[in-house]
Subunit: 491 residues, 2 copies
């Protein structure tokens, strides 16, 4: 109770900061070891019965190609529709066209949090998705489209949903609508939520409480922490543990990059400090917002939804919809058997990219403070068309290294010096819509010679500045949010 | 120069705060009196030669109805297109359909600012728009669509544009993409900018430097300050003048509503204080954002662009496009002669509402701090579908008082007690697209008995909270931004 009171006094802003401080000093407290997680995880795999089988489109239940448009739709008119997109660039000639997943409804991605022995824990789910490379991934407590939670499928009730719908018990720590893949979805938004409860919460066998420190460690395991978990974790309003900051000693700029034994970590911790407390950001918030507005204004795209049947240079056969050159993604159909889901059998379309994507945040210490190099990245399915993305993003298809080499900062981003590669893990994109969509996420520290001056497409920001922006929608795209979660895992 | 240095030291956040302080104590400084403005304004009217004539659609130059869709388009494919909109509410049956102005390109609304004798001035333009009830309105320094400033019309150069395009001289105080009428535009965004320069700026005869204090006074004049000027002024990062706050004496909650001689002004000034400085807001920022996310999630609309020819219950004749019941707006055509514009003659379609709209902010002092009651308002043309709007908004058409009576808080909003009606002026919506679109803007102080508990559609916010949100897009809709500018004029 003392802990609870302390937390309440800290207010919303301080809440997660307290947790950090606690977890940094909680060595003596009773926290279940990670081995307990691994046993549970292996057990979930043994107990699960999952089958995903590709089928021709005509074997889809409840899905059909609409006459006239050729759009692939669910009979209920809900879930999502595969339609076409036409993108015209005002300054160029030929528009580009592609299939797109049109899913106007808003889903909930919610993580339930609770203090145990003074340490904040998050209730994570072992969730099967048909597109996962490995069936199960560690997912938010609740992950439900409106069609799911309003039970269009007439399946079982979504577990723990009551914490995320009004009237709800518990305190909201995060609640923001965020975009998803702007290359594949049209205007998709999901509600990213973290709710803390003080009540008793039964731990169902498919769920497991983990601390933030444990989740950070697990983020380094290939294909374990799901995209939906990453985007929610990235949105936590984090502040640096005071104790750690105190240990780093002197003011920003005077230590850190020189004699100090852990310069990267120190610079990273300082990067969580707010501007007005001397965070030492290269750019003020006003400069960042103006730069971003300029990038959005510079883009002269107009984007129209068109019938799937009208999309040029793409073809549908019995099994898939693909581009003539076989370089882009495919739309295919699958039949799914999953015993622990709300509905245990269903069929659905999936979008299958060809090969692996690469997403890299380059970092550099400037005036003793770690800065992340973000890119203003246009994608046709984003409601504002431009959001902040990785320093370097290589879409799937083709050789990532070769493709990166042709992009700004591609050379630095593919660096392999183990002293500078701070994070390097291959993680999955949403397995509920995408089949085997994999991205290699890397955080790479640039050398001291790396230029502070960058082209207008890019901008240096502190972690705190990214953290402040991610409290709002329309700022960080899904790949940047995944990378931000990775950055959070580095101390 | 001393002044300039002081301002620079204050940093971006403090910039406008300094101006406030200065203007509150600048009685002895040389500022041109408002009579000078009025002479100039009368002179502009005398010198202007404006003619707006309604014509049948077939007399439009460079505009035509596209075969097939029936959309009304410019030959260049730019400016805007009149198309159709279909809005489906997931929980209801029949979709609603209407014409819509589709203008994907981003325009610039920019005000140039400069210190004269230590007082910040804004360069305002006497600008004619064909839909204005009175030809000229006081407008931003620059008001230009991309088609304008990239000179699709092959007209004259837009004056002062160089301050608002890269590489620019001067310092950016405001730079944010904001929505416009979500009932009439599809996804329209304009770039709201304020740039401060230290250089010499010639005052062209159609332009006039005014202080913020003068602009505030002019906001109370019917149809004088244009919508575009209001939205930019609303976005200024304002802070209360320290001197005024000091005069109000005791801590929030202990004075203000009781013995103090100017309780409304005191409560208003406190409403500009940031939360962490004891602003005493009813809700934390986290609670506000979560409430807003809930409102967006609760809405189950899907919105599709459709051909104008397919819009049900609307008809086109030689002169206008109108709904069968003659209750909504009309699309009509006009021929324009205007000697002081980039192009002196042109023709264009205009959207003409029937009658006047009403927009009201109800305010109430809570714990000594003025709060504004905002509404989460769905409009189909907004990219996020929901933004924050007035407490009460009555669209044009029909009797505003009768319509208000049927809405939540409609009774309080139509109050006429002169002690409580703090602002009451009829202002115009954008005359470049709308013909005689008028809104009666009111700020009404609710009585002490007015409930603090409100339905889920509404939420109390301090002026500071609104100010913080308006630094980002997708929060305050255009009517709320107009009202925020009105609130700024009240001290």
């Amino acid at each position: 109770m003392t802990k609870e009171n302390a937390t309440s006094q800290a207010g919303s802003d301080g809440e997660i900061a307290s947790e950090f401080t606690l977890s940094a000093t909680s060595a003596g407290r009773e926290v279940r070891p990670l081995s307990h997680f691994h046993e549970w995880w292996a057990d979930r795999h043994r107990n699960g019965n999952f089958e995903v089988t590709r089928v021709p489109f005509e074997q889809l239940d409840d899905w059909h190609f609409e006459s006239g448009t050729g759009n692939l739709r669910h009979t209920s008119g809900r879930y999502f529709t595969v339609a076409g997109l036409r993108v015209r660039d005002g300054s160029a000639g030929t528009p580009w066209e592609q299939p797109v997943l049109n899913q106007p409804e808003i889903g909930i991605l919610g993580i339930l949090a609770k203090y145990f022995n003074g340490v904040l824990h998050f209730l994570m789910q072992a969730k099967m998705e048909p597109g996962n490379v490995n069936s199960l991934q560690l997912s938010p407590t609740v992950q439900a489209t409106r069609s799911n939670y309003s039970r269009v499928h007439r399946g079982a009730h979504t577990r723990y949903l009551e914490y995320f719908r009004e009237p709800r018990q518990g305190r909201v720590l995060v609640d923001v609508l965020q975009s998803e893949q702007g290359a594949w979805f049209l205007g998709k938004r999901n509600r990213n939520m973290v709710v803390r409860t003080d009540g008793d919460v039964p731990e169902h066998e498919d769920f497991h409480w983990l601390t933030l420190r444990q989740l950070r460690a697990l983020l380094g395991v290939d294909h374990l922490v799901s995209m939906d978990a990453r985007t929610v974790l990235a949105s936590l309003p984090l502040a640096p543990p005071r104790a750690s900051l105190a240990r780093t000693g002197a003011a920003p700029g005077t230590s850190g990059t020189t004699a100090h034994p852990r310069p990267f970590t120190d610079a990273l911790l300082r990067s969580y400090e707010p501007e007005h407390e001397g965070g030492g950001a290269l750019h003020t918030r006003y400069e960042l917002l103006s730069w971003f507005t300029e990038r959005k204004t510079a883009l002269d795209w107009s984007v129209d939804l068109i019938p799937l049947a009208d999309v040029r240079n793409w073809r549908r056969d019995a099994d898939e919809i693909a581009d003539d050159e076989r370089r882009e993604f495919r739309i295919m159909a699958a039949r799914v058997l999953a015993e622990n889901r709300e509905v245990s059998k269903w069929s659905q379309p999936l979008l299958a990219p060809r090969g692996e994507a690469a997403a890299v945040f380059l970092t550099r210490t400037i005036r003793g403070v770690l800065h992340v190099l973000v890119q203003a990245m246009p994608q046709p399915g984003l409601r504002d068309l431009v959001e902040l993305g990785p320093t370097v993003y290589v879409p799937p298809g083709g050789d990532p290294a070769a493709a990166a080499a042709g992009l700004p900062f591609g050379g630095a981003a593919t660096g392999t010096d183990p002293e500078r590669v701070r994070f390097d893990t291959t993680l999955s994109e949403e397995g509920g819509r995408f089949f085997h969509a994999r991205t290699r996420y890397r955080v790479v520290e640039a050398g001291p010679d790396f230029p502070v001056e960058v082209p207008a497409t890019h901008c240096w920001m502190t972690v705190r500045q990214l953290n402040d922006l991610v409290q709002h929608g329309h700022y960080l795209n899904i790949e940047a949010r995944s990378l931000l979660a990775c950055v959070h895992s580095l101390w």
